[in-house]
Point group: D2
Chain length 142, copies 4
Amino acid sequence: MSVTTKAITETSFYVRYAETDAMGVVHHASYLVYLEEGRSHYSREHGYSYAQFEQDGFFLMVTEVTVQYKRVARYGQQLTVRTWLESLKSRSLVFGYEVIDHATQSLHVTATSAHICMSKEGQIVRLPQAFTQQLQLVKRIS
Amino acid sequence: MSVTTKAITETSFYVRYAETDAMGVVHHASYLVYLEEGRSHYSREHGYSYAQFEQDGFFLMVTEVTVQYKRVARYGQQLTVRTWLESLKSRSLVFGYEVIDHATQSLHVTATSAHICMSKEGQIVRLPQAFTQQLQLVKRIS
Amino acid sequence: MSVTTKAITETSFYVRYAETDAMGVVHHASYLVYLEEGRSHYSREHGYSYAQFEQDGFFLMVTEVTVQYKRVARYGQQLTVRTWLESLKSRSLVFGYEVIDHATQSLHVTATSAHICMSKEGQIVRLPQAFTQQLQLVKRIS
Amino acid sequence: MSVTTKAITETSFYVRYAETDAMGVVHHASYLVYLEEGRSHYSREHGYSYAQFEQDGFFLMVTEVTVQYKRVARYGQQLTVRTWLESLKSRSLVFGYEVIDHATQSLHVTATSAHICMSKEGQIVRLPQAFTQQLQLVKRIS
């Protein structure tokens, strides 16, 4: 999957006051919530929401996250999370992210999150084909 | 101030996974963050954002909150916060809220939050007139 | 139930950085998490933990919270939550709380939370007798 | 710095209900708050609290975090964060962490966080010597 064809979804929102800390900026843990909403948006936009995924009896457990913080963000600022599928295997996948300023497009955060597919019974299982097919759709989504 | 003339703003968003708890529903503390975003939206829509308010040297400290929980909400559900100015005095104000389902309009939460105006130096001060004038604008905002 | 006989439990902890906001103080929603930990501690100390309660097939849904904020708290400050049973009915109960400074005992927050007992199937049911008996134990717990 | 001489601090706490999510386990972002409390505890135990550090005019900005999730944790479980100084330079430092079960010592999470030292004015500056000296104390702290 080349950069030119990969699907990237973008979702924008205002920084909430509760997401800031005593430094006056967005707390570093808040970005994990933004990334999570980025992949929620990604799956909704690809036509197979994560809510549906769980109703179908599966979970995506987080096995690793890496986050690089480049620039602070503040309350009221409008941020955009750009999300894409970095890699996909039979039982696991990795999402890539950028968090940018909505207006200036300046880069705030780059990140990845790795996940394995679990059944309700707690077993590591194959990702359902319907899900992986939807997630790989490469038409540009706005 | 009658129902027909008060300004009510509405902001909608998807429930984020991090906002749920082990009961499988939105954690009751998450609604305080929704209400806060409701009043952020209210002030933005009225042309005097709370971010501006703080830059002008003021804070709105929360002095009381009351929340009635009517119905649980779940991950992926789209909620709407309806926010209005319940009362306004020289140094304090009260916001009223409803959190409803975006699609069905069913009621999830009713709430109020009371605030006093503080200066940067920590003194209780009068609300700046420019702010109170903007907040009272009664034209319907969507 | 008189003040002289009611059981009050106390649990202390340091304010975490993530619990503060851009005002430099503990965010008002963080106190709901403190109260929740207060009642978790209350039930553990009374010999019937809330974790056990859920394993036994019940949930305590929050139906209402009221919080009065008296004084701000800051990162690194050690706080104590004092928790007691305010009232108890067959299907519902109310907890009362004070959040105080651990060292000076100065009062930061007073609060109440009301709850109803739900079965796993989502029905409102009677509180299990073993639970209510344990929760009403009046010997002083430290 | 060898394993035998490095200082490791340990702080233990109960998982709070608000820290869980709809999977029934601790949300992956909650661990960043645990790690932060781990380094707060580390600096308190070394005699130069992070609260003092900020009062002295400095901030430790997070520049990177990496977290590996090995095992889920649940509400009411008692966890321990083990924290140590992984590396130290003139303007930056890296903390290492393990989150383990308090009772069984089983490993839940391994992590690192990198930080740079900022002045109140937003400039990258040298870590104050008093701070770095305290943080490197190698006597075993329990």
